[in-house]
């Protein structure tokens, strides 16, 4: 058993109590899970908790996984952990504010290994603007766009993760991007020359 073992094999072993096999899955997906949680919660500490909770939850309900994409199933559990946290924040706004304040001391986006100082500064600015704009989206649109553009899921897998139709995925992503554009245009970030360049460099 190594990092190349396919998901179904690891899942089968984990179901029989092989924790090591499950932890290979954890290592495989933890960056993605953590990043989704981070974008959903905008707070590193909360994202860490939600990620751990998601993996524990996945392990204990592994018997309920009925095939299909394990990644979609796992990310749905992670998304639910995030929704739980979002609900808790709404229930006690004061506490969540404290927590977010603490979290904000840690930067969400690490500095890129960008070639020049100027580009790096521009990228950091753009990424900050994007991250801020993402926060303003409704939770479901944010989840759809994060799965699509940050995790690179296709629409079918997003639909499986969010348990909605393809049409709903399509409209959520479309609306999310339209809204992001409005938000960013208002900040006059996106259409700056630097951003255009970074887009064309892709």
């Amino acid at each position: 058993m190594d990092t190349d073992t396919p998901d179904p094999d690891l899942i089968a072993r984990a179901r029989h109590g092989d924790l090591t096999a499950f932890n290979v899955l954890v290592e495989r997906y933890q960056t993605g899970v953590y990043n989704v949680c981070l974008r959903m919660l905008s707070a590193p500490a909360a994202a860490e908790d939600a990620s751990q909770e998601a993996f524990i939850s996945a392990y204990r309900s592994l018997e309920r996984f009925r095939g299909g994409s394990f990644r979609a199933w796992l990310f749905r559990i992670a998304a639910n952990a995030c929704y739980d946290e979002i609900r808790r924040r709404k229930a006690r706004p004061a506490l969540s504010l404290d927590r977010t304040a603490d979290d904000d001391e840690r930067p969400i986006d690490p500095p890129d290994a960008a070639p020049s100082m100027e580009e790096r500064a521009a990228n950091v600015e753009l990424h900050g603007a994007l991250a801020d704009a993402l926060k303003q989206l409704p939770d479901e649109q944010r989840l759809a766009i994060v799965l699509c553009d940050v995790q690179g899921f296709d629409y079918a897998e997003i639909a499986e993760t969010m348990r909605v139709s393809l049409g709903t995925v399509k409209s959520r992503i479309s609306r999310a991007r339209s809204r992001l554009r409005v938000i960013l245009l208002e900040r006059r970030e996106l259409l700056s020359d630097t951003v255009r360049q970074s887009g064309e460099d892709q």
Binding site: L19, F22, N23, V26, E27, Q30, T31, G32, V33, Y34, N35, L38, P44, E48, S51, Q52, F55, I56, S57, Y59, R60, S61, R64, R76, I77, N80, I108, D109, P110, D112, N123, L126, H127, L130, A131, I145, C148, D149, V150, G152, D154, Y155, R163, K170, S171, I173, S174, R177, S178, L180, R181, L184, L190, V195, R196, S198, G199, Q202
Partner: protein
């Protein structure tokens, strides 16, 4: 490409799917045809593409630590699942169903009891029960438009103690026991259907009281709380669908109504309003239980 297509149907909703390569082939052809003739949409699409690239350029953050499960996490968490979520989910649903069933039974007993007490005979034979009908109709007309607030029911038991009889006469300038007559003809004409149930549902014993109180209820809403008879009016209203045939009979007997002893059966009123309180309580519990089980189920499904 017609002008209509160009200016009225900008398929903006499909730009994102197009940028993601998720557009069905037929839609893709239509979209590209549109784009050929619509510069504005080409600009919009370009904006979406730029945004998409920027989003995909967002750096991934390394996990701050490994989330690998320790044996302790695995052990501690695995046991509770089977015993905790499922049973509470089942228990919630059973509780909800049970409460709903109890509620249904209570309501049925309530309805049945009143119908039985007043005697189907009321509608079938005697004019006696119909005497009170007109006033009752008034009450029901009022209730139909403006359902009796629970507060009035809740207060009724308190106000029953002694003072009620006096209130009946003194608080109401226009309606004593007998004054109910004055109001009744209107009551008949206005709600031909709404009041139908009154004839059957009205307990004969409470007849006079209810009759006068019914008027009070309609004409003097603010005073409703001080009248012990009101709960009857409410209860009967709730069950009012029963007697379609009673309506015509009631009209005939109307002029005689309202002379009965208004508060002769306050004890029964008390019982009925208690029952109402119980019903309201059970309804609240049922709503909570059903809502709770729904939430639990959603969580269980989403896991």
């Amino acid at each position: 490409m017609s002008l209509f297509d160009i200016f009225s149907r900008h398929p903006r909703g499909e730009f994102s799917a197009h940028a993601d390569g998720e557009l069905a082939p037929d839609r893709l052809a239509a979209l590209e045809a549109h784009l050929d003739g619509c510069e504005r949409c080409r600009g919009e699409l370009a904006g979406i593409v730029t945004l998409r690239a920027a989003l995909r350029d967002l750096p991934e953050v390394a996990a701050p630590r490994s989330f690998a499960l320790t044996p302790a996490m695995a052990e501690r968490q695995r046991a509770p699942v089977a015993t905790r979520t499922t049973p509470s989910f089942v228990a919630m649903r059973v509780a909800g169903a049970g409460v709903a069933a109890v509620l249904a039974v209570v309501v049925m007993l309530d309805a049945g009891g009143i119908v039985d007490d007043s005697g189907r005979g009321g509608s079938d034979e005697t004019a006696a029960t119909f005497e009170q009908d007109p006033a009752n109709r008034d009450a029901e007309a009022g209730d139909a438009v403006n359902p009796q607030p629970p507060i009035a029911d809740g207060d009724a038991p308190d106000s029953l103690s002694g003072a009620t009889a006096g209130d009946g006469d003194s608080d109401l300038p226009t309606t004593g026991g007998g004054d109910g007559d004055v109001q009744t003809p209107e009551g008949f004409k206005d709600p031909p259907d709404a009041g139908v149930g009154g004839a059957e549902d009205l307990p004969p014993a409470t007849g006079g009281g209810v009759g006068s109180d019914g008027d009070v209820n309609v004409d003097e809403p603010p005073d409703a709380q001080s009248f012990s008879g009101d709960p009857d009016g409410v209860v009967t209203t709730a069950d009012g669908g029963e007697g379609d045939t009673a309506g015509d009979d009631g009209k005939a007997a109307a002029p005689e109504s309202g002379d009965g002893s208004p508060f002769a059966f306050t004890a029964e009123d008390d019982g009925l309003s208690s029952l109402l309180l119980i019903e309201i309580g059970l309804a609240a519990v049922a709503v909570l239980a059903i809502g709770g089980s729904f939430l639990v189920r959603r969580r269980a499904e989403s896991d």
